[in-house]
C-alpha cells in the first residue's frame, strides 16, 4: 500500500526524501511491521539459527560423527585441498555429477509440475458437478507420505511384477519389461515421473488459490471484448497469477534441489541418480564425515541460494514490491 511510503528514491530534492523517510507515521508503521515480524523471526532463529550456523562451522572442520566433540578447524580442506593431487568436494567428480543430476532433475520436474499444475488448477477452477470430489482426488498424491508413495511407485515400477510394465506391455507399447529403477538411463526419468506425480498437486493448489483471488470483473471485460480464452489465459490470467506461481515454483525448486527421499527409496544411490542431498547425506550419515558432509550441505545451500537469487532477480517484477 502506498500509505506514507510513496516517496521513492527516484526523484525529488534531498530534503523531501529525508522528510518522507523520517516521518513519524512511517516510522511507527515500520515499527509495527517489525513487531509483527518478530514472532516469526524468533521462532525461525530458534529452530534454524543454531543448526545452520553449526553446519556451516562444521564444514570447516574435520568433525566425524563418532568424535564430534574433538573437531579441528581445517580451513577449506573439505572443499578443496592439494595433497599430491586435488582432494575435497570441489575435486570430487561424484559431487559434480550429483550437482548436474540435481539440476537436471529440478529443471525437468519443476518444469513439468508447473505446466501440469497450472492445467490441473484451471480444471479445478472450472465450475462443474463433483468439483469438490475431484479437488480432493487431485490432492491425494501430495497427501500420501513420501516414504509410502515412493515405495508404492517402486512397487508399481518393478520390472517383474510392477503394474506399469504390465500395462505398457498390455497396450503393446513395450515388448519387454523395462527396468525402470535399475537402468541408469531410465532411473532418473522414473524419479521424475514419481516426483511430478507427487508434487503437481502442490503447484495446482497454490495456483488454484491464486485463480480464486483474481479480480473477477476484468474477465467480464475480456469476455465482452471477445478475447479467446487462450489469449485471456496468457495475457490476463498468467500475469495476474504470476506472483503466486513464482512462489510455488520457488518452493518446488527448493524442494527439488534438495530432493532426497523419493530417490533414496526409489533407486539405488548409484551415480546416475545421485543428487546433492543424497551425496550430503551419504557423507554425513553413512560415512560419518560430519565435516565433509557439512561442506556438501553448505555448498548445496550456496548453489540453491545462487539460483534463488538469480530467479528472484529475473522475476522481480512478477513478485511486485521492490522495484
Amino acid at each position: 500500500m502506498t500509505v506514507h511510503e510513496t516517496t521513492t528514491a527516484t526523484a525529488g530534492p534531498k530534503k523531501a526524501r529525508q522528510d518522507a523517510r523520517g516521518t513519524k507515521v512511517r516510522r511507527r508503521r515500520v515499527r509495527a511491521a517489525w513487531l509483527f515480524l518478530t514472532p516469526m523471526l524468533v521462532v525461525l532463529a530458534l529452530v534454524a539459527g543454531w543448526p545452520l550456523l553449526r553446519t556451516i562451522w562444521f564444514s570447516f572442520t574435520d568433525a566425524s560423527l563418532s568424535q564430534m566433540g574433538s573437531a579441528n578447524f581445517i580451513g577449506v580442506e573439505n572443499y578443496l585441498v592439494y595433497d599430491e593431487g586435488w582432494y575435497g568436494l570441489l575435486a570430487d567428480p561424484l559431487w559434480w555429477q550429483s550437482v548436474w543430476n540435481t539440476l537436471f532433475f529440478t529443471v525437468i520436474s519443476v518444469g513439468l509440475e508447473t505446466v501440469l499444475g497450472v492445467i490441473v488448477a484451471l480444471v479445478l477452477n472450472a465450475k462443474f458437478r463433483g468439483r469438490m470430489v475431484v479437488r480432493a482426488a487431485m490432492l491425494i498424491p501430495w497427501a500420501i507420505p513420501t516414504i509410502v508413495s515412493a515405495k508404492m511407485w517402486a512397487w508399481m515400477l518393478n520390472d517383474q511384477f510392477g503394474i506399469l510394465n504390465h500395462m505398457l506391455m498390455g497396450l503393446g507399447i513395450i515388448s519387454a519389461p523395462l527396468a525402470w529403477t535399475a537402468d541408469a538411463d531410465l532411473s532418473m526419468w522414473a524419479v521424475i515421473i514419481v516426483d511430478v506425480w507427487k508434487a503437481t498437486p502442490f503447484v495446482a493448489l497454490l495456483v488454484l488459490a491464486a485463480l480464486q483471488m483474481l479480480p473477477s470483473d476484468c474477465y467480464e471485460a475480456a469476455r465482452v471484448d471477445g478475447i479467446s480464452p487462450v489469449r485471456v489465459f496468457f495475457k490476463v490470467t498468467l500475469p495476474l497469477i504470476a506472483p503466486a506461481l513464482m512462489v510455488a515454483v520457488i518452493f518446488r525448486a527448493l524442494d527439488a534441489l534438495r530432493v532426497f527421499d523419493v530417490i533414496y527409496v526409489l533407486t539405488s544411490n548409484a551415480s546416475s541418480t545421485m543428487t546433492m542431498s543424497i551425496y550430503a547425506r551419504q557423507q554425513l550419515v553413512e560415512f560419518q564425515d560430519v565435516g565433509y558432509g557439512s561442506a556438501a550441505s553448505t555448498l548445496l545451500f550456496l548453489i540453491i541460494a545462487l539460483f534463488t537469487i538469480v530467479y528472484l532477480y529475473l522475476g522481480r517484477r512478477q513478485l511486485g514490491g521492490d522495484q
Partner: protein, 366 residues
Amino acid sequence: MASVQLERVSKRFGSTHVIDEVSLSIDHGEFVVFVGPSGCGKSTLLRLIAGLESISDGDLMIGGKRVNELSPQERGVGMVFQSYALYPHMSVYENMAFGLKLGKASSESVAERVNETARILQLEALLERKPKALSGGQRQRVAMGRAIAREPDILLFDEPLSNLDASLRVQMRNEIARLHGRLGSTMVYVTHDQVEAMTLADKIVVLNKGHIEQVGSPRTLYERPASKFVASFIGSPSMNFLEGTCRSTDARETRVELKALGEVVLPYGVDSNAVGSPITLGIRPEHLTPVQATGSDAFEVINVEYLGNESCVYVDSDAEAFLTCRVEADTPIARNDTVSLRIDTAQAHLFDEHGQALARAQDSAL
C-alpha cells in the same frame, strides 16, 4: 444489422426480481439511453444484453437472431463497465489495445487506433501508466477507450462519464455523438445526467424497479411524461406536485381545485372520468414563478439557492414537500420573503390517483 430486441426478459438473483418482463426494441444504429433510480436494474439490463448474465426468462434477439445462449463475443458487443474493470497489470495503452489485437489488425493499425482513441479521450500523456497510478476520471476514460477503440456493432455504456468534470463531460459527450454518427453502431447508454440523456438519446427508456415506465424521445418524456414517476424523474430539479381534485373538464379547459393554491384552470381537457376524483397537478420549477405576494395566497420562502446561471427558490407550500421554483440567478427574492406563486397552466400536468398521466383531450402528437 445490430438491432436489439428484448421480449419479456426477466432476471432474478435468487428470489430478487431485478428485471421484470422487460420488452424493448432497439433499432440498428439507434442511440438509446436508460435512466432510472439507483438500483433499478440498468446495469443488469446492459449485462443481460452483453451476455454477462444469463437471462432467467424471455428472449433476447440481436439482428433478429435469438442470442440468449450466445457468449458475449458472439454477440458483437462492446461495453464500458460502471466499475471500469480495467486489467490491473496492463498499461493504459495495453488496456486499450488488448481487445483490438484480436481482430488480427496489424500492429500499426492497432497503434494508430489506440493513439487516436487516446487523443479523443485526452489520455495521450498517460499511455504508459498502470491503472493504479491514474485518477478516478482517468480510469473511467480508459474504460471508455477500451470499448470504443474496438468499434463494435453494439456499444453499451454504463455511466461512462460520471466521474468526469463538466467541461470534459461535454467534450466527451460530443465525441460519443460523433462516434455514433461515424460508426452508425447501436448504442445503449446508462446515465444519471439529465443533459447527456436529453442530448444524446434518440430514445430514452425510463426504468423503475426492474420494469419500463416509459419509452420515448427526450421531448416526449419531458413534456408528456406518462406517469408521475417519469415526470418526477426527468428534469432537475424535479417537478412539483400539488394535490387537488378535478372539478370539471371539457374539450378546452379543466378546472382543478388545489389544496395549496386554490382553483386553477388548465387550458386543455382531460378524460371526463377524472371529474370529482383526487388528482395531482405537476408543474416544473421553471413553470412556477414566485411573484410579490398579493394578499391571501402568500407563502414563505424557505431557501434560495444560487446556481450561477439561475437560482432555485424553495417555497413552503403547506403541501407534503417544498415547492421549487427556478428563477434567474440574480433574483431579488430572498429567504423568509413571502411570495405568491403563478403557475404556467399550459405546462401543467395532471395525474390520477395511481400516478398515471391523464390523457389530454385532442392531444396533438409531439
